[in-house]
Amino acid sequence: MPKLPLFLILIPFLPFLCTSFSPENPSSRRVLVLLDDLALKSSHSVYFKSLQSRGFELDFKLADDPKIGLQRYGQYLYDGLILFCPTTDRFGGSIDLAAILDFVDSGHDLIIAADNNASDLIREIATECGVDFDEDPAAMVIDHTSYAVSETEGDHTLIASDDFIKSNVLLGSEKIEAPVLFQGIGHSLSPANSLVLKVLSASPSAYSANPKSKLSNPPSLTGSAISLVSILQARNNARILISGSLVMFSNRFFRSGVQKAGTLTKHEKSSNEQFLTELSKWVFHERGHLKAVNVQHHKDGEADEPSMYRINDDLVYSVEIYEWSGRSWEPYVADDVQVQFYMMSPYVLKNLSTDKKGRYFTAFKVPDVYGVFQFKVEYQRLGYTSLSLSKQIPVRPYRHNEYERFIPAAYPYYGAAFSMMAGFFIFTAVHLYNK
């Protein structure tokens, strides 16, 4: 039994083995990379190196390796998954479609790179993520106006696209100058899914068809409806990147120069590296990851949180919001965070002011309506983690002794009542004894 001592030695290290994604430390550390062919490891080494240099442990496995698995004993072994295996029909080991979807639904990140001839399995995963690849397996995105100029005329499947989504959170603050080279299959976004977004879309003149055969029918995907690279941020903030091209991650595309057809500027280097690296930072929560902590509310002038408010109370609400910078939590600064005081519809909607140190606060008066209210912060901004905080608090009406005891407007009535009593008393006395 040589394994037993080894196992006993390993026991103290178990906690280290079990660390996984946590909101406190959102940077994923262990990433499983599934490949069709181990040659990809070297042909796409620049991309992998950039990940490794940022501290990720990449675990390269062949997609049909029978030993691979995402979890063991109910614990996930990885924090991220990169599928660079467009042609795999079925994964080895315990991984299948359901396992990958569970992986995502438990808050882990996923990068999918498809290609033409993408397998049904990859298509199904993409479909579950709200993206439909062109049904024709041989179809590629063709663009006769914004293709990348190259030595050979070719079939215009190598596209130089610069139609990026406008978001610093997704693509970094540095402007992407050169177009991105793309060669592969196009996809469309499922209309029923509002969470998925186009990051890189094709130009209006693009269409998706088999470049080898003659176009007999109108192509099913045309123009800017075609998405080249899409992202999806799930409700649990798992992030997914879907690309129709595997080759765009390759060293070759990273290094090659690019000139978009119809333009004169020839860029030394395509923006693939910048674009994809920045996107990978977003996918692996190095950017745009917010956390909201320390939600507090109390009556104006008090410190403790009450279990119930009264109508027309003045209250103070505060929340702290931080952004993960890759290493530490930094205060998040914005002027558009709002809080609702909500009961079936918002009764109060207020902008929160910030002290630039992460704390957001406001003060308002409880409306003159009783019921079970909620403090709601629904902060959904492009690229950022969607913050959805709600805290229930009942609002009660006045107690019987909280009304004003004497109101000036009623003095005539008090007077009437007392004068009546006095008059009655005098009348009785006179009536009874004055005979």
Partner: protein, 783 residues
Amino acid sequence: MVGKAEPVNGSVKSGSNQSIPAAMQSPLKKSDLIPNLSLKTLKLKTKQQELLIRVSILCLVYVLAFITRLFSVLRYESMIHEFDPYFNYRTTLFLTEKGFYEFWNWFDSESWYPLGRIIGGTLYPGLMVTAAIIYWLLRFLRFAIHIREVCVLTAPFFASNTTLVAYFFGKEVWDSGAGLVAAALIAICPGYISRSVAGSYDNEGVAIFALLLTFYLFVKAVNTGSLAWALASAFGYFYMVSAWGGYVFIINLIPLYVLVLLITGRYSMRLYVAYNSMYVLGMLLAMQIRFVGFQHVQSGEHMAAMGVFFLLQVFFFLDWVKHLLSDTKLFQAFLRITVTTAIAVGAIALGVGTASGYISPWTGRFYSLLDPTYAKDHIPIIASVSEHQPTAWSSFMFDFHILLFLFPAGLYFCFKRLSDATIFIVMYGLTSIYFAGVMVRLILVATPAVCLISAIAVSATIKNLTLVARAKNKVTQTGFVRGSSSLKGSSKASLDQSQPFQRNGAIALLLGAFYLLSKYATHCTWVTSEAYSSPSIVLAARGAHGNRVIFDDYREAYFWLRKNTPPDAKVMSWWDYGYQITAMGNRTVIVDNNTWNNTHIATVGRAMSSYENEAYEIMRSLDVDYVLVVFGGVTGYSSDDINKFLWMVRIGGGVFPVIKEPDYLVNGEYRVDKGAAPKMLNCLMYKLSYYRFGELTTEYGKPPGYDRARGVEIGNKDIKLEYLEEAFTTSNWIVRIYKVKPPNNRWERCSIFTLGPHCAALPFSGNVSWLGRINFSTNAGIG
């Protein structure tokens, strides 16, 4: 006092040849007086004997009234019954734990989510305060009992007290014999027992006592003209107002009675004093109850009392003027002008008040009392409650038995000896019998009147018969000693030919009356034991071998909720179960039996009758976490949600016209088998009730999915749930709880819902219609 000078109107009270002023001076003495004057020689001794017998009968009746209501405790356990009592129990518990002021100001955030309910301002606190006072008193006397025991036994205790009031009332109206009979009758009358068995901790339990007490004290006040009795009656009224919404009956019946007395020329100073002080004080006191508040001067239901109040003043004024004026012609003219002006001013005030909204119009429930078809057409939520259905003849017979025949006889006796008091009891009897015909639950209000009037009939008849029998015995003294052997008596007495026959007849009739009354006692005991002692939270059925099978599914489900769901979970169910979920499951509910907000209930009804995806939107907007349905298909329990479902559709459709009743019916028929309407087969309620039911064989020799409550095979056996998942189903499937899933992680919404193609085109099969049964399906009372 002014009342003294007034002559007693109508005939003098029977037996005792005493005038009212004498009674006023010594009311206690009078009660001890025996009406029977024939045995004057043995006066003292008989008096004591009679008193002893009377007191011991009353004591026995008092105990009997209590113990006959204990069947449910003996058979099941000391538990709270039905639906509303659970709310009363919960509030009483709160009251005893937190004290009166917390109770008074209680804002309950656990019901009517997210609106909440101000409990203190929307209930009649009389019952809870009564129980709490009894509890505190027992605690003070060092009886360490749980508040639940007090709550369970409050209704029987007050039923016992009611018998005492009935005795005094009977004595006031007729004589002490009638009082005793009334006490005995009301002690076991099923109409009253139905709402006052042990565990039926509801407002009516104390309210009937308060109602009868108020009436008794008012009649006493009218008879004596005493301010003190009027004051007592005002306090009785206050207790009634604090206990039950049925006080509206008092505040309308008493003015009506006064009006009748005015019209029949029985106006007297006694009436003036009694009514005015009772009305003014009663009104001031009633306004202290938060739930009533200014309604007492503002709502249409209370206007009759105010109108009569002013009318009495006009009457008094006219009397005074008549007294001053000697000229009749002048008075006639004056009368004409005054009456016209008074009526005009009253009409204008009422018109202006109603038009400006100061006087609120009559409520729907009041309308439905006057017009029994009103609720059916306009307010489905009132019509849906089984207690609010018109009464069937059989239930009159069931609840009153021989009283139903004695009642007209009693009326005859009352008319024969009209007095202010008998007029009152006649009016009380007639109006309440009418209301009992309109709504089942109002049999309860009619019961005391029916018992009293029947008691008069019984007492007067038996008295006459015994007089006949005894008169004969005086002549034939030996017959009296040897007993009532009619043959011997008749052979000796040949003085009068008709007398022996009369005596025999009398004895035969006495035996007949005895037989009828003993039948009544048997019937009452049987009804109490079989029909009215079931707690309805625990169901009992007879098994195949005649053994008693207990279904304790409700408590199982509520216990599961309490132990397995997060404390702030919101549970959506039909409103019937709201009180039980909050009281036993301790979870927040969307709607409950308080039914104060029709729109909220209609929203739940709409969710239940929509397709699953539409219902999901509604449930998300209400933050629903769990859905609870009651299903009787496995056990054959017929008052389940599927049988109540048409009411959900109607109530939902009343507010949201997208829900249309014909969508759920096939040719006007309500069915759940293959011939059911496609919308029916795919609405949320159907899916939640029959989820996984298609796999289950419920009865030997029947196909799987055979619904025993409706006796058909269900039409949609392959039910898939997309937005909900089954969380818990009780052992007999009576309660099923589903969890609402959170929205899909990666999708905005799931695939578009499609109708099963097999639904619409299947052949017509089975045509059982349960529309007739549905009326009696919803089980709880409102307010």
